[in-house]
C-alpha cells in the first residue's frame, strides 16, 4: 500500500508540476500511473483480501488448508510478480493498454499464480468436513476462477508480442478486462471478507444465507457483461452497448441484496462494529460499496455519461471503488485477521483508528474534488472548449487532490508501522479483546466458547 500510494502521490504531483521528474524517464507520469494502478490492484488490495480468504476458507470448511507449502510458493511468486511489474513498467516495457500494461512474461506469471491459488482453494474445498459451503467460500473461489479466465482473454495472452487485438475489437476486449478485473476479482473477494467478518464481529448469524446466495448468483449472471459501458461513445456494436447498459443498471439487484443482508446482520449491533477496528473498516467499506455501485449504474446511462465520462469523474468513481470499498475491506480483513493469525495483539488501536480516519477523509475528499474537476472537464468538452482553457480551471483541484494523496500515503505508512510492530511484537500469553470489559481472556477458552456458540446456533435452528 505504501509503494502504491506513493506512486499515486507522485503521479498527482506531476499533474501539478509536469517538469518535476525532469529527464528521469522511469518516473514520468506515463510510467508512474500504470505502476500506481497495478500496485494498488495486485500489490495492496488483492493480496490483502486473498490473505483473509486463506484464513477464513479452512475455518469455514472445518478443515486445514490443502497445502501450506503451495500457499507459500504462491506468496513468493506473487511478490516476484510485483517486482517484475514495477521494474518492467518503470523501464518502459508496457503493452500500453490501460490496466493491462504488463508484458507477456508477467502476464504468464499472474496466470500461473492464480492457477496455484485456485488449486489450493479447490482442494481445500474438496477435503472439507463441513458439507455446506458458506457464501464467502463461493465468492472466494469464483473470484479466482473468473479472474483467471478474464485475465487470459483480456490480456490476449495468445499474442505475446503485442498482447492486443486491433482496433475496436481490442477496445471491447480491454474494457471487458478493465471492468471485470475490479468487478470479478475485488468485488467477490471483498464481499467474501465482509460476509465473514461482519457476523463474527457482531456475534450474530447472517441475516439470510439464502439471500446471500441470490446475491452471489445474480452477480455472476450480471457483472460479466458490463465493461462495454465505458465505450458508449465509440462505434462498438449497439447490441453490446444495450447489454452493458441494461446489466449495469441491473447491478442494483446484487448490490442491494448484499447490502440489505449485511446491514440487517449488523442491525442493532453498531456498538460491536465500532469496538472492533477490523469490523469498522469492513462496515465502512460496505457503505462505500453502496456509493460506488449507485454511481456505476448511474454512469452507464448514456445521458449521464456524456458529461461524466473520459474525465476526472471516472477517477473519483474508481477511487471510491478500489480504495473506499475494496481497500477499506482489505484493511479491515488485515486488522481483523492479523492478531488472530500471529497470536499477538494489535500493536496500536489508536494508530489503526487514525489510519481509518485518514483513509476515510482521503476517499471522501477525492470524491468531492475529482467530481468537481470532472464535471468542469465534462461540461467544457460537451461545449467544445479547448483543453488549454480547461486545464487552468482545474489546476486548484489537482493541488487539493495531491494533498489528499499525501494524507492517504501517510495513512499507508502508519498502517505499515502498526502491522510490522504487531508481527514483531511480544507474543501474548493472553488474547487481548479491544474494548472488552474484562480486557483479557485466556486463549485456551477458544474451543469451549466455540462449542457453546455452536450449541446456541443449533438451539436457534431447532426452535
Amino acid at each position: 500500500m505504501m509503494m502504491a500510494t506513493f506512486m499515486g502521490l507522485l503521479g498527482a504531483t506531476e499533474l501539478i508540476a509536469p517538469d518535476l521528474s525532469g529527464n528521469l524517464s522511469w518516473i514520468v507520469f506515463g510510467r508512474v500511473r500504470p505502476i500506481h494502478v497495478n500496485l494498488v490492484l495486485f500489490g495492496f488490495v488483492t493480496p490483502g483480501l486473498l490473505g483473509a480468504a486463506f484464513y477464513f476458507l479452512p475455518r469455514l470448511l472445518d478443515t486445514d488448508l490443502y497445502s501450506e507449502g503451495l500457499g507459500r510458493v504462491s506468496v513468493i511468486v506473487w511478490n516476484l510478480i510485483l517486482v517484475c511489474i514495477v521494474l518492467s513498467l518503470a523501464a518502459g516495457y508496457s503493452q500500453g493498454r490501460e490496466y493491462a500494461e504488463m508484458i507477456w512474461p508477467v502476464d504468464m506469471l499472474i496466470v500461473i499464480v492464480f492457477t496455484l491459488i485456485f488449486f489450493n482453494f479447490i482442494m481445500t474445498v474438496a477435503q472439507r468436513r463441513e458439507p455446506l459451503l458458506y457464501v464467502s467460500v463461493w465468492y472466494a473461489c469464483a473470484a479466482i476462477v473468473l479472474t483467471g479466465l478474464t485475465y487470459c482473454l483480456g490480456n490476449v495472452i495468445w499474442r505475446p508480442d503485442s498482447g492486443a487485438l486491433v482496433g475496436i475489437p481490442d477496445a471491447i476486449l480491454l474494457w471487458f478486462y478493465g471492468h471485470n478485473i475490479f468487478g470479478l476479482l475485488l468485488t467477490p473477494l471483498s464481499l467474501g471478507v465482509a460476509y465473514y467478518v461482519i457476523p463474527r464481529v457482531c456475534r450474530s448469524p447472517l441475516y439470510s444465507h439464502t439471500l446471500s446466495l441470490v446475491g452471489f448468483w445474480s452477480l455472476i449472471l450480471v457483472y460479466t457483461h458490463i465493461g462495454t459501458h465505458h465505450l458508449l461513445q465509440v462505434p462498438v456494436p449497439t447490441w453490446l452497448k444495450v447489454i452493458a447498459t441494461v446489466d449495469s443498471v441491473g447491478m442494483v439487484i446484487p448490490v442491494m441484496v448484499v447490502l440489505i443482508n449485511l446491514w440487517y446482520t449488523a442491525k442493532g449491533r453498531l456498538g460491536e462494529i465500532h469496538a472492533d477496528i477490523g469490523g469498522k473498516f469492513v462496515f465502512t467499506g460496505t457503505i462505500l460499496y453502496f456509493f460506488v455501485s449507485i454511481q456505476g449504474s448511474m454512469m452507464a446511462l448514456p445521458q449521464v455519461q456524456r458529461i461524466t465520462h473520459f474525465n476526472n469523474w471516472v477517477i473519483a468513481h474508481s477511487h471510491v471503488g478500489v480504495l473506499g470499498f475494496a481497500g477499506m475491506i482489505a484493511l479491515g480483513g488485515i486488522y481483523y485477521i492479523l492478531p488472530r493469525a500471529v497470536g499477538k495483539p494489535l500493536y496500536s488501536r489508536y494508530l489503526a483508528d487514525f489510519q481509518y480516519w485518514l483513509v476515510l477523509i482521503g476517499v471522501v475528499g477525492f470524491t468531492v474534488v475529482l467530481t468537481i474537476a470532472g464535471l468542469i472537464q465534462g461540461n467544457a468538452w460537451f461545449n467544445g472548449e479547448t483543453i488549454y482553457r480547461v486545464l487552468p480551471e482545474i489546476h486548484m483541484y489537482y493541488i487539493v487532490r495531491a494533498s489528499l494523496g499525501l494524507i492517504i500515503f501517510v495513512a499507508a505508512v502508519l498502517g505499515f508501522y502498526n502491522i510490522v510492530r504487531t508481527i514483531f511484537g511480544r507474543p501474548a500469553e493472553t488474547v487481548v479483546v479491544e474494548g472488552s470489559p474484562t480486557r483479557e481472556l485466556l486463549a485456551g477458552s477458544e474451543s469451549g466458547l466455540a462449542h457453546q456458540e455452536s450449541g446456541l446456533a443449533h438451539q436457534e435452528v431447532a426452535s
Binding site: L133, G271, H274, N379
Partner: protein, 83 residues
C-alpha cells in the same frame, strides 16, 4: 474478427456456471440454509465487545455520507439536464 474469443469465453463461462450450479443443487448446497447462517460463528473465541459512537464522530460520519449522497445526486441531475 473478435467474435470467436467472446463465443469461446461465453461458452466456457456458461458451462462452468451451469456445471457448478448443477453440482450445488445436487449436493444440497441450497438446503439447510438456517444452519449456514451460523457457520462464521463457529470457533468464535470471545464474547462481543461494544463501544459507543461519540457525538462528534456520529456527526462527522453522517456529514460525510450526506456529502457523498449530495454529490452523487448533483452529478445525476446536472448530467441529465446538460447531457
Amino acid at each position: 474478427m473478435y467474435f470467436p474469443y467472446f463465443v469461446t469465453y461465453i461458452v466456457v463461462g456458461l458451462l462452468l456456471g451451469l456445471i457448478t450450479f448443477g453440482w450445488a443443487l445436487h449436493s444440497g448446497q441450497f438446503r439447510d440454509q438456517q444452519r449456514a447462517r451460523f457457520l462464521p460463528l463457529v470457533r468464535s473465541e470471545t464474547p462481543a465487545a461494544t463501544s459507543k459512537f461519540g457525538r462528534l464522530e456520529t456527526y462527522v460520519l453522517m456529514g460525510m455520507a450526506c456529502i457523498g449522497l449530495l454529490i452523487s445526486a448533483f452529478t445525476l441531475i446536472y448530467s441529465l439536464l446538460r447531457g
